[in-house]
C-alpha cells in the first residue's frame, strides 16, 4: 500500500526559500545552510528531500539509492520515489542516467559511471546528493576555489573511501564533474566541481 505524505504546503514560497539557501550553499562551497521547510520523505533526510522538492520535475531523472533504506529501519525507498513522483512528477532512473541522485556517504559508488557532462556541454551532469551522519566528524577538509575567500575547513562525516577519493582527486578534469550536496538532517553543505579539496594537515 502506498501512502502519499504532504509536500511543501506553500509550494511557491517554500521552493524559493530553499532555492536561495541552495544558491548560497553552492556559490560559497563549504558554507552550511539550513533547509527547514519540510520534514522529508524517509529514508531521505529533510534537506535532501527539500532539494528534490525544490528543483526536480519531469525533466530530471531521479535516482534514490536502495542502500539508504537499509540505514533507516522500516523505511522504503519505493515509497519515497512515489512521493516525489506525486509531488514533482519525477521519473525514477538508474544512477547512470540520473540528473539528480541521492546516495549515502557510506556507499561505494563508481564515479566514472555518473553523468559528468561533455567538454562542450559540461552542465549536463548529475547533482549528487549525499546523505551523511553529521558535519562534526570525519576527516578535516580544507576547501579553496571560487566562492571561498582564502580557505574554508569542513567536516562532512564519515565518508566511504571512494567518495573521499573523488573529493580529493576528481576523476574528471574541470569543467566536467559532479556537484555534491552533503545533507544531514536540515543542514546542507555543497562542494562545487570548482572546489579544490585537500586533507587538512594535522596540527
Amino acid at each position: 500500500m502506498s501512502i502519499i505524505a504532504p509536500g511543501f504546503n506553500q509550494n511557491v514560497e517554500q521552493s524559493q526559500v530553499c532555492f536561495r539557501q541552495l544558491l548560497t550553499a553552492l556559490s560559497e562551497p563549504g558554507t552550511e545552510v539550513t533547509l527547514d521547510q519540510h520534514v522529508g520523505f524517509s529514508p531521505l533526510n529533510s534537506a535532501a528531500s527539500q532539494v528534490i522538492l525544490c528543483l526536480c520535475d519531469q525533466l530530471t531523472p531521479l535516482y534514490l539509492s536502495p542502500f539508504l533504506a537499509e540505514l533507516v529501519p522500516g523505511s522504503d525507498i519505493a515509497q519515497a520515489q512515489r512521493n516525489f513522483t506525486f509531488h514533482c512528477n519525477t521519473k525514477p532512473s538508474s544512477l547512470v542516467n540520473a540528473d539528480f541522485a541521492v546516495i549515502s556517504s557510506q556507499e561505494s559508488i563508481h564515479f566514472s559511471r555518473l553523468k559528468v557532462g561533455t567538454d562542450e556541454q559540461p552542465h549536463q551532469s548529475v547533482t549528487l546528493i549525499i546523505q551523511t551522519d553529521d558535519f562534526t566528524s570525519g576527516p578535516k577538509l580544507t576547501l579553496s576555489g571560487p566562492g571561498i575567500p582564502n580557505q574554508r575547513t569542513v567536516q562532512l562525516g564519515q565518508l566511504h573511501p571512494k567518495i573521499l577519493q573523488y573529493l580529493l582527486a576528481p576523476s574528471h578534469p574541470f569543467p566536467l564533474g559532479v556537484d555534491l550536496l552533503f545533507c544531514h538532517q536540515q543542514s546542507l553543505i555543497a562542494i562545487s566541481r570548482t572546489t579544490k579539496v585537500e586533507l587538512a594537515s594535522c596540527m
Binding site: F19, S27, P122, H123, P146, D179, R193
Partner: protein, 295 residues
C-alpha cells in the same frame, strides 16, 4: 477618487499571476540552470527562455533571473546605465513591485537583489547581495566566429587566441586597446566571458567581488554566473596592460573624481558637462558634501 484607488489596490493584490510572474516549472528550470552556471563559472548554460511581457533588448534575461530568484523578503533595485530613474529601470522595478509585491529601493546599500543594465554600482557591493545583469549577446566570440557549433568547440578547447588577436588588432590600428565596453574577461582561469556591455571601468569590480553575479540573456537564452570571491581577469598584454577610462574633470554635480562619468550635451552650442552615471552614488555624494554646511 479615494474609493477608486482602494478598488485598484484590491485588484493589484489579486492579479491572477503567480508570484514573480513566471510559473513554477519555468522557475525550477531557470534555478537549475543558475546552479549549474555557478558550478561552472563563466560557462553559458542554455535554458528555455520564455516570452516576457516586454520586448527582447529590454532586459528579459535579467527579468527571468530576477523572477526565479526574488522572494518576499527581498529589497529590489534596478539600474539602467547606472540610473534608477530611466524608463527601463522604472518599468522593471514597477513590474516586480506588482507581480511580487516586494519592497523596492534606489539605494545600493539597502538592496538585496540588484538588476542592472550595463553598469556595476559605484558603491562597493556587500557579501550576500545578488547582482543580476541584462545581457544582449552572451557569446564573447560571436563577432569573431558566428557559428554556435564552433564557439562551443572553442570554449571546450579553451581556444581563445582569436580574442587576443582582436585586442592586438586594436593596438595595431589605434596604438592602444580601444575596446571600451563588453571587455572580455577570463573567469577562474578557464572560461572566456562577456561581462555584458559594462564599461571596462567596471571590470576590476568583477574580480573577487563579495557579491554573487548572475547574467541572463533572454533572446539568446543563456545564463552564466560568477560566484563571490572568484578570480576574474581582463585580457591584456604584458606591454599593453589593462587600463580603465579616465576623465580630465570631476562630476559637475557631486565633484567625484573616482566614478564613471557620462558626457551630456546641454545646449545647441555644443556645451557639455560630465556627470556620474550612477545616480544613487551621485546623490549620496552631493548629500554628504552638503551636510557639514547645514550642521
Amino acid at each position: 477618487m479615494q474609493r477608486f484607488n482602494q478598488h485598484l489596490a484590491t485588484l493589484d493584490a489579486d492579479l491572477g499571476y503567480n508570484f514573480g510572474y513566471l510559473d513554477e516549472q519555468t522557475k525550477r528550470m531557470i534555478r537549475r540552470a543558475i546552479l549549474k552556471g555557478i558550478a561552472i563559472p563563466g560557462y553559458q548554460v542554455p535554458f528555455g527562455g520564455r516570452e516576457m511581457p516586454m520586448p527582447y533588448g529590454w532586459g528579459t534575461g535579467g527579468v527571468m533571473l530576477s523572477a526565479a530568484v526574488l522572494g518576499r523578503d527581498d529589497v529590489f533595485k534596478v539600474i539602467d546605465q547606472g540610473a534608477d530613474d530611466t524608463t527601463n529601470a522604472v518599468s522593471i522595478r514597477q513590474f516586480f513591485a506588482k507581480v511580487c509585491q516586494i519592497d523596492t529601493t534606489t539605494s545600493t546599500d539597502a538592496a538585496s537583489v540588484i538588476q542592472t543594465r550595463h553598469r556595476i554600482p559605484e558603491q562597493a557591493l556587500k557579501h550576500g547581495q545578488i547582482l543580476i545583469y541584462q545581457v544582449p549577446i552572451p557569446e564573447p566570440l560571436r563577432f569573431i566566429e558566428p557559428r554556435e557549433t564552433e564557439t562551443q568547440k572553442m570554449h571546450a578547447l579553451a581556444e581563445y587566441g582569436p580574442m587576443q588577436v582582436k585586442l592586438y588588432e586594436d593596438i595595431v590600428k589605434y596604438g592602444y586597446i580601444a575596446t571600451s565596453y563588453a571587455y572580455p574577461v577570463m573567469v577562474n582561469q578557464r572560461y572566456l566571458m562577456d561581462p555584458s556591455p559594462i564599461p571596462k571601468f567596471d571590470n576590476p569590480k568583477l574580480n573577487q567581488s563579495p557579491a554573487l553575479m548572475l547574467f541572463g540573456a533572454g533572446r539568446e537564452k543563456r545564463i552564466y554566473c560568477i560566484p563571490p570571491y572568484t578570480e576574474v581577469a581582463s585580457l591584456d598584454f604584458a606591454d599593453h596592460p589593462f587600463a580603465v577610462q579616465q576623465w580630465s574633470e570631476p562630476c559637475s554635480l557631486c565633484h567625484s573624481t573616482t566614478s564613471f562619468l557620462d558626457e551630456v550635451l546641454i545646449d545647441d552650442q555644443g556645451q557639455r558637462m560630465f556627470v556620474c552615471s550612477d545616480t544613487d552614488y551621485c546623490q549620496q555624494q552631493q548629500a554628504s558634501k552638503q551636510e557639514p554646511c547645514h550642521g
